[in-house]
């Protein structure tokens, strides 16, 4: 399932593989610093493991698991690649 | 893990279902007793009217039930539920065993008067035999190919 449509990470269904495309326009520096340090930069490939929307979402980045609040997840735009 | 035979999945599924029913049964007994109906005669082991304990039994039952449903359909993740079911059963079973030992200590070592009427049967609750009964699940689980990490 390849798509060019961008969607917020928060809405991605469980089990999907996505690529980070951009951040929402109104994000602050604190957000950017945090997110880049974790590897959630444009081009990064992530797997969505659990999505308790409107709750937290669990991700697998290169074999490493974290979970983020939907606040952050809403501001990361991704496209689904699998 | 496609090489795990269907027959085995179904067997484990049935075993899981049986455990699920048993846990559910005893959990309901605890809760109905808590609600005020004396159903203790239905049980070979001691039942307190402990709603929380009943809750934990029901939860365990649900885990095993999920295991049954998934394994019956040959879905590999059923084993995850069986694994966690065994884990929770062990936690509850071992805990109760420790409680039994603790109270035994009160009665026979400390000679605590509050425990003068206590016998080990008082603390031999459903979770203990149920835990023993769930131990055979270790066999199919061990043979699963899985990485620790």
């Amino acid at each position: 399932m390849y798509s060019t449509v961008q969607m917020p990470l928060a809405l991605v269904p469980e089990g999907a593989l996505v690529e980070v495309v951009a951040y929402s326009p109104n994000v602050g520096r604190g957000f950017m610093h945090k997110v880049t340090a974790l590897g959630l930069i444009p081009g990064a490939i992530i797997k969505v493991i659990r999505n308790h929307f409107p709750g937290p979402i669990m991700l697998d980045i290169k074999g490493f698991r974290i979970f983020i609040g939907h606040g952050i997840a809403n501001k990361i735009l991704v496209r689904v690649i699998g | 893990m496609v090489n795990v035979p269907e027959k085995r999945n179904k067997a484990v599924a049935i075993f899981s279902l049986i455990l699920s029913i048993l846990y559910f049964f005893f959990g309901s007994l605890e809760i109905t007793f808590w609600l005020g109906f004396d159903v203790t005669y239905l049980s070979p082991v001691t039942i307190y009217s402990d709603a929380f304990a009943g809750f934990t039994l029901i939860v365990t039952s649900l885990i095993f039930a999920a295991g049954f449903i998934n394994l019956w359909r040959n879905e590999v993740r059923g084993y995850s539920y069986v694994l966690v079911g065994l884990f929770v059963a062990s936690v509850l079973g071992i805990l109760q065993f420790l409680i039994l030992v603790a109270n035994w200590t009160e009665r026979y070592v400390l000679l605590n008067e509050d425990f003068a009427d206590w016998t080990w049967i008082d603390d031999f609750r459903a979770v203990i035999p149920l835990w023993i009964m769930s131990l055979p699940l270790i066999v199919p689980l061990r043979s699963l190919k899985m990485r620790r990490v």
């Binding site: 698991r65 609040g69 939907h70 | -």
Partner: protein
């Protein structure tokens, strides 16, 4: 033969790395028992320092907080940066998780940018192997330009080699400061900013390249530094702005641009150094997560495990508590009957030994609780629990990480508040601390049991449960109010690591449990003993007089009018006052004041109160003033008297209001 005294080689080493890479294990391996735990100056973050001797060298080790990068956004990062810049350690050991090389190297690159002298300790090699990675450490060394020491810290593999490397580096004064170049445009920008900064002598002691990069990234702390050091900082800032806007024509955002470059470099390195050998197989972690974070089963399973923890903490620890009780009771009796003069016997017996006994009786509970929690934490489960509860917490205006401290509060508020250290955002943390005492701690239970038993017999269980519920409801309300009034804004962005599940080592469990347990006992213990001795003193002066005429009695009479509208007499007022020292004491004091043993309080109390006033009293005990140990810990964790006093004040007021409200409603419904 000539005797030469050789002064030992002294090396100053800092340990850095991401959270959960095994830093504390390495620290413990190196320093053993010679550690000292304190605080970083001015903040409530823990600072661990220790000494390690290797061959003829004395290595001072400082454990920096676990961080993902060196931005200026969190206290932990700022502490780490400042330490490296100001204290200039000889070596910074960057502990890297070999099974997550790419993400860990991000910090490494930033450390190199900062100009630190880095040695990489490539830890968790066993985990990497299990994940199917083969890492060419020699090649990594070559590409990244700093020594790489592979290790498996829990098995002490690599520790000697690390120390050897450290000593060798210091002896030969080697420096490992590879500079990685970014893209042409960025490098140009960096050069231009550097040129501007070079003009200023005040900045010559800093690593200019790092300052330049940070200014381009809009780093707050560096900006503050410039303002502080240079009088006409505006000149610098305007130049930097010019350079930035030119760069921004090519790159949307410089922060992302730099991050991108770093990851590009890292990817290149990692692709040449790591080969993946095994095929993807389901992992234990993913199997467990499937169930533990299940949408519907996740929380019930969590509740089940929590129930087990509480049962374990109370029922299984009981024999040990009872044992201490017996020992200390008999000791107390022996003392009071055999030591002359009688007042001294009473002081030592009932006062001091009684006080000590009291602490020892609840110590097993505390240790068991910490034991269970250490297991949950070290195994990795707690992160999943936080994940499950996050949604609910957010709705309450709280941080997901607030959940565990609030849960612990049901056992004892002191360790609960101590555990708020994991919450980074100050506001979230403060709210969690302030609301914590409303979680009905185990000390209040005896009070509920006594009063509920006397006045509500058949319904006692439900009445007690209603108290816990009341506590939770009030906590939620107060949290919401605090959030709206004093701490506006939503809970901070929430990110939490989920380490792979592992069976915790016996050693780490024991160490954690002992650390926390003994710290608690020391603090709470001393306070409670002091308090009990004080009570003993006040109720026995003048010695031999009936209780009403002792200091305590007179004090009670003073307090009586405050509580008269609730129908509580002076004895209750005094007991409540002493409850400030420790809630457990309320019952004991009532016993002393009524002149009976605790078993026969039934009579006097059923005469002194009505069911309504008893219920109001229970609510009052739930809410008013945290015990003195808790007050102490609030002061320690918040670092300010302002919030501590605020906590005491709002709880007193709230308690009074709620009790009054209960009495009022009661009268209106005609329950008086």
């Amino acid at each position: 033969m000539m005797l030469r005294t050789v002064s030992p080689l002294k090396v100053k080493v800092a340990l850095a790395g991401n959270p959960n890479v095994g830093k504390s294990v390495v620290f413990n391996n190196l320093t053993g028992a010679r550690q000292h735990v304190g605080n970083w100056p001015g903040v409530t973050v823990e600072k661990k320092e220790g000494l390690c001797t290797f061959e003829d060298a004395k290595i001072e080790v400082v454990d920096l907080p676990g961080i993902y990068s060196l931005t200026a956004n969190s206290i932990d990062e700022i502490i780490a940066r400042n330490y490296i810049v100001e204290e200039a350690p000889d070596i910074v050991v960057d502990i890297v998780d070999a099974s997550n090389l790419e993400r860990n190297l991000y910090l490494t690159l930033q450390l190199l940018e900062l100009g630190a002298n880095v040695i990489i300790l490539l830890n968790m090699m066993d985990l990497a192997e299990e994940k199917g990675f083969k890492i060419d450490t020699k090649k990594l060394e070559k590409l990244i330009g700093v020594p790489v020491v592979p290790s498996v810290a829990p098995k002490r593999i690599g520790m000697n080699e690390l120390c050897q490397k450290i000593v060798e580096t210091k002896k030969k004064s080697l420096t490992y400061k590879k500079i990685f170049k970014y893209s042409k445009d960025l490098e140009e920008g960096i050069e231009r900013v550097r040129y501007v900064l070079e003009q200023y002598e005040e900045l010559s002691k800093y690593n200019l390249r790092w300052l330049a990069i940070k200014l381009l990234e809009d780093d707050d702390e560096v900006k503050k530094l410039i303002v502080k050091s240079i009088s006409n900082y505006n000149a610098i800032f305007s130049e930097v702005e010019k350079i930035k806007s030119e760069l921004e024509k090519k790159y949307d955002d410089l922060i992302v641009a730099f991050a991108d470059e770093r990851y590009r470099i890292i990817s290149q390195i990692v692709s040449q150094v790591v080969t993946k050998v095994q095929v993807e197989e389901p992992t234990l972690t993913s199997m467990l997560d499937e169930v533990f974070t299940h949408k519907y089963l996740g929380i019930p399973i969590f509740l089940t495990l929590m129930w087990a923890v509480f049962q374990f903490t109370f029922t299984v620890a009981a024999p040990i508590s009872d044992l201490f009780d017996m020992i200390f009771s008999s000791l107390a009796e022996i003392a009071s009957t055999n030591i002359k003069p009688t007042w001294l016997g009473s002081l030592i017996g009932e006062g001091i030994i009684g006080g000590l006994g009291f602490v020892f009786v609840f110590a097993p509970n505390i240790f068991f609780m910490f034991l269970a929690l250490s297991i949950l934490e070290d195994s990795g489960y707690l992160a999943r629990a936080a994940f499950n509860m996050d949604k609910i917490m957010y709705k309450l205006g709280l941080h997901g990480k607030s959940f565990i401290p609030l849960l612990l509060g049901f056992g004892c508020n002191v360790p609960a508040i101590m555990s708020t250290r994991t919450i980074d955002n100050e506001n979230d943390r403060l709210i969690t601390i302030l609301v914590n005492p409303l979680m009905s701690c185990s000390a209040r239970l005896p009070v509920y049991v006594l009063f509920a038993g006397i006045f509500f017999s058949a319904y006692a269980g439900n009445v007690i449960f209603s108290m816990y519920l009341l506590g939770i409801v009030l906590a939620v309300l107060i949290a919401l109010i605090l959030r709206k009034t004093l701490f506006p804004g939503r809970p901070s962005y929430f990110v939490m690591e989920m380490p792979p599940y592992m069976v915790p080592t016996l050693r780490s469990i024991v160490v954690h449990t002992w650390e926390r347990g003994s710290m608690f006992i020391k603090k709470a213990g001393t306070i409670i003993i002091a308090g009990l001795v004080a009570i003993w003193a006040l109720s026995n002066i003048p010695y031999g007089a009936p209780i009403e005429e002792s200091l305590v009695g007179q004090f009670g009479k003073l307090l009586e009018p405050i509580f008269a509208p609730f129908g509580w007499d002076w004895r209750i007022a005094v007991a409540l006052f002493f409850g400030f020292i420790a809630k457990e004491i309320v019952i004991g004091s009532l016993a002393i004041l009524y002149g009976t043993g605790e078993e026969t309080l039934y009579g006097p109390i059923s005469n002194a109160l009505t069911p309504l006033s008893a219920y109001a009293l229970m609510a009052f005990v739930l809410i008013y003033v945290p015990c003195i140990a808790t007050v102490g810990i609030i002061k320690q964790e918040t670092g300010s008297w302002k919030w501590t006093l605020f906590a005491i004040a709002y709880e007193l007021i709230l308690a009074y209001l709620v009790a009054g409200f209960i009495i009022l409603i009661g009268h209106l419904i005609g329950l008086a």
